[in-house]
Symmetry: D2
Subunit: 158 residues, 4 copies
């Protein structure tokens, strides 16, 4: 599947994907997804491990980007994580109730976009971590970043 | 063990741990640790998954911070990850030879320090990811950040 | 928390926990729990990795054993996994709909019990894996297996 | 890569892969592989989690089966895990020194073989877990189990 893979970062024209402070809600509204924790997410300190938070973000993306209809080519057309950051703001303990992951596009370029993210509890308002993930639309067959289509840009900025 | 846990971020006096661009080697020399990959680190794209890179950083810290002698209280005295970031610069595939994780302190505060990190191949020089991890020395018994001791500062700046 | 830990297997009186073929539903009815998959559960073959199935079983146990009221001391009183087995019967692919984990006690001893387990789709009836997990009630403070109480036995055989 | 995937268990002629008690060293000698633990392998009980042991077995297989020369088609020709079991015999704690995984073929069929496995410390002789993994040689292109070649049988029984 990745036979012709050429890394996006080897292709000119994709500049740095860090654009300063995240600004939740500036380009799109925030989409919020329920993600379930697992008991096994906890480390020896009995907290959800810091690494796992990035797994929660990944899972939230897998659940928010549509697999059919408008916006569905964002993932199916090829997408790679270019950069990500999290600041941990409260310890999170295992519970059976899902936590919430909020994502809002706060920057969109020709071939890339950035999601301002937070892991939080929508009932209490407690925020456990916040940061961003920068993603590049990438054509694995051609081996280069691909332009975001009008349909994709429309979905990303809604 | 965490009965009296109070998050460091709820305690005044610990400012933001993002201090702009990382500057490898400005406070300490770079320590380089071998970390072994696992076949299971790869995701459905047959690359080492982006989340796993933070696991590699965690493992490198577990292996570089001493468990005896000078500097050993850094970990045994309590340490929490406050913030971390990675920029992915090349795809990494499973191999049996270990990869290298380089860590150098590029900022040190009263109770915290930041490690400029990179995941790379010391033979080829290829860099797969680079970024930073900010850590806070934390007294879990007292439930507050703790001052880095002279011994700890000495180890961190060597 | 595990300061006085003494392994159950070092204590006489706990015999082998393999009791031949599993017999779903012989001691208790089958309890079925929804567990969500994660995109990151897939390995380089784009299937949910064989190792992850044991994580799904663990999560199902964490969700089926009560944290309050009858049966709640099963977990809070100390419980360790002694042995487990799975036979994989169909490939499982990531999907956003939860899969189901069925568990029924098919053996109960003085300090231990065995769960016949299956990972399946309750709608289609497809079974992805089946096997068992043997667990030992263990008093971590005393450092020895503990007798299952009448309340616990009652919950386990319901 | 798995476009034509048809599960081996749907194909007649592959019988049950449980052949009673494992007998280490009956078909092949035991091959022993070093595998490194990760701090993150520990769960909230501060032990290497039971699920992770299967990851250690997977990693040991990835490191013992050759990628070039005799036996190398075992993995490259397609291989799936059909069944696996572990009995946990001692708690394992994180350490920087690698643990050892021993594997010896104790049954070999036309298209499948079973590895008697143990996770142990070769210095102290302590055994943390033992069990087996049954594997099926599988041609993903044809979508069916494939016969083990003479070269493969020779490697497996050495």
């Amino acid at each position: 599947m990745l036979i012709n893979f050429t890394p996006w970062w080897a292709v000119s024209g994709v500049a740095s994907l860090s654009w300063g402070e995240t600004k939740r809600g500036t380009v799109s509204t925030e989409r919020v997804v329920d993600v379930e924790l697992r008991w096994g997410d906890s480390d020896a300190f009995a907290h959800v491990n810091n690494v796992v938070f990035f797994r929660l973000l990944e899972e939230a993306r897998a659940r928010v980007i549509p697999t059919d209809g408008p916006g569905s080519t964002i993932l199916s057309g090829g997408l790679v994580v270019a950069e990500q950051q999290l600041k941990y703001t409260a310890p999170l303990h295992y519970r059976t109730a899902p936590i919430q992951v909020g994502m809002s596009v706060d920057h969109i370029g020709g071939s890339s976009f950035r999601l301002a993210c937070r892991v939080f509890d929508s009932t209490s308002g407690d925020v456990y971590a916040e940061g961003f993930v920068s993603l590049v639309a990438y054509d694995f067959t051609l081996g280069s970043p691909r332009k975001l289509s009008d349909d994709e840009r429309s979905w990303l900025t809604a």
